[in-house]
Amino acid sequence: MTTMPRLSFCIAFALAALLGGCQSAEVAERPAAVRSPSPSPAVKAADQPQKISAVAIVANYVAIAQATYGDALLTGRQLETAVNALLAHPSVQTLEAARSAWRAARIPYLQSEVFRFGNAVVDEWEPRVNSWPLDEGLIDYVAASYGTESDNNNFFTANVIANPLIDIGGISVDAGNLSPQFLAETLQNIDGVDANVATGYHAIEFLLWGQDLHGTTPGAGERPYTDYDLAKCTHKNCDRRRTYLASAMHLLVSDLEEMVQSWQNGGRAYGALMDKGDNGGLATLLAGMGSLAYGELAGERLRLALLLHDPEEEQDCFSDNTLWSHYYDNRGIRNLWQGRYVRVNGDVVSGASLEALLRANAPEVHAEMNAKVETTDLAMEALVKQGSPYDVLIAPGNSVGETLINNTVQALMEETHSIEKIISVLGLQNVSIKGSDSLTTPAK
């Protein structure tokens, strides 16, 4: 471990390129169209890379944001339809259909996460839809193994579905009506605690799957459909659980509608981005890629869970969908590098890309980044294809899992280093991002 180079090497690369038959040049010259089955007029522009401009890249960045959030809303509405069917006719089949719709809704949403960092408007909105980890004992029944106290959270086991009146630590809450407004304005982050997550994908995930009590062995949450069946109600309070699920679902769709609107011309996210200017926009794009790759994906989501061997530390801990979440987060990063997004209906949105800009102006950094993106893709594919869920991979003593996860963390860290090089070669290191900290200190 001590002899492993921490970083990639500019000097080594330069020497290899000079002495080693210019494999890098071959990579650098590969036209963007090779990777795009249906090149748009904008992709043709990429064939003349000297004309790639920051303004065109930022315009394409916005187009991809619009398409990605549009798809998140589309699949969010499909999830709402499935949840309504579950509530209308609770059964094994309708519950499984709602779970499938949840998994499908995650695919575009996770690809949108790369827009969160650097865009303060998105970062402020995000906790409503995707907060985790959550102390699910706030919402509904939990097993004894969950524990009874938390240093950080007095509402650790409040269980609002079972308790219409709550009085904890001097805070009295009338939870009689589990309305969208109550969830969003009172319960979410109650007592100033981030783990009190009342809304969003993961609250809904918990309501569809329940706790995963399999620890680090195979198996996800096994909530029975009868938790929503008024006639055959299990675990009590089915009426209030139904109300909670409907309210959370309503909020998710309205929050996604808000974000779709925000990226339209005249919307808040769009306006804030435009205010930053071309280089500010480019800096935002890179801040999103680097922050998601390094601090968030490599750190919070991959490495931490492995170090703790704690299944509650995996993002989709109820559904065991975590590996796919990692996979599509990474796809989002690649989307911005290549300036290309494949929509849920198969349409391709593509245009001026960071890749083309670097290919024209800094071929060695371009080739390095391309190689890093490729390595990360391969590591992610190895993770999702091996067959075990994430909570099994992080079990103490699972050396195969540890290696796969560490390979992915290493790949993401090295990719981040290349992103830092791109920021340096484009001279963007001192570009401030309005509404957020500078690139050196992204929000939170």
Partner: protein, 352 residues
């Protein structure tokens, strides 16, 4: 055009001006390493010895006096750790040592959950050093030990449950092993790694990168203590303050941690000759020095106990003042960095 880029790059890399500048980075790095960092890790290793020694015999006589002694030992070892906590590169990254020494902050209560699971299973086999090193980081370090030694019912619980006492021994042993390993690695190996940073194929790309890591250890850590050790606790008002989000609230040393941290940042920034401060514009240094002084004075004036301070408006205000002063220090550092072409890159505060 791009086919010539590597050649141009090589020409630039070996230009006399760059070589001279590399020498300057290297001198700063070695001065810091030998004069500040290696001694700090050696102090940490020494500070952990009493804890390891006293814990080894503790289970034979679990008394109030012996517990009090261990609590003192804990404080001493923690002082040592807080003096190097900001160094996030080099040997601390080997074998997950960083997380195994201290897993904090623990927003999702994983430490408690993992500790409860370990205590419930009460399997002595996992406490053997090699096996213990593979357990959750939530049970291996200072946070877990603090919970075992400083809870209200610690004495009774330790007397009643032999496994709990054995766990104290295992953690103390673990902390001793890691702190000794860190000091040894820095002294025997990593000092050379820093000296040879410009050689190809090593840990660093070049000497400049070492300097950047040291600078990052100051700038990023100033931000980190402001956010994690003060803002998270202070919240928006005294009524909303979260005492238990403070680092080391059980052992009531949250303010002491901050004082040790800032003294360590100041030493790293300006103690060596040449100092790390020499890589920033001279014109910006007086403001940074003044900001450091202000933070040190405000932390010295703050109550020793954060728990007590949070209970009074005056105490809360004093902590807020320290928070603001630390923020001002961060801003002074940031301004200076922006006057250079140094880019500190992404950091672990990114994301959630």
């Amino acid at each position: 055009m791009f086919r010539h880029a590597p050649l141009l790059l090589l020409t630039w890399l070996f230009s006399p001006a760059l070589l001279a500048q590399n020498q300057q980075w290297k001198e700063v790095n070695l001065a810091i390493t030998d004069g500040v960092i290696v001694p700090a890790y050696e102090r940490f290793a020494l500070a952990t010895v009493p804890l390891t020694t006293d814990a080894a015999g503790f289970c034979a006589a679990v008394t109030q006096d012996n517990l009090a002694k261990l609590q003192q030992d804990f404080q001493q070892a923690m002082d040592g750790w807080q003096g190097v906590q900001h160094i996030q590169f080099g040997p601390i990254t080997y074998f997950n040592w960083n997380y195994r020494l201290q897993f904090w902050p623990d927003d999702n209560n994983a430490g408690t959950r993992q500790m409860d699971t370990l205590l419930a299973a009460a399997d002595p086999a996992v406490l053997a050093p090699a096996a213990f090193a593979q357990q959750s980081v939530g049970v291996q370090g200072f946070q877990a030990l603090e919970r075992l030694l400083f809870s209200n019912d610690s004495l009774a619980a330790l007397q009643k449950t032999p496994f709990r006492c054995q766990l104290v021994q295992a953690i103390a042993h673990n902390l001793g092993d890691i702190s000794t390993g860190l000091a040894k690695r820095w002294h025997d190996e990593f000092r050379t790694t820093v000296a040879n940073a410009d050689q190809r194929g090593g840990y660093f790309e070049n000497s400049r990168d070492v300097t950047l890591d040291y600078l990052k250890a100051v700038v990023e850590s100033v931000r980190r203590i402001q956010r994690q050790k003060l803002e998270a606790v202070l919240a928006d008002s005294q009524a909303a303050a979260h005492e238990r989000k403070a680092e080391s609230w059980r052992s009531d040393r949250s303010v002491r941690n901050l004082r040790v941290n800032v003294a360590a940042f100041a030493a790293l920034f300006s103690q060596s000759k040449p100092a790390l401060s020499s890589v920033l514009p001279a014109a910006d240094i007086p403001a940074i020095t003044a900001a450091f002084d202000k933070v040190e004075k405000s932390l010295a004036a703050a109550p020793d106990s954060m728990t007590t301070a949070l209970k009074s408006p005056q105490g809360y205000a004093a902590l807020k003042q320290s928070r603001d002063d630390i923020n001002a220090l961060y801003e002074a550092l940031e301004v200076a960095v922006k006057h250079t072409d140094l880019y500190l890159g992404f950091n672990s505060l990114d994301g959630d």
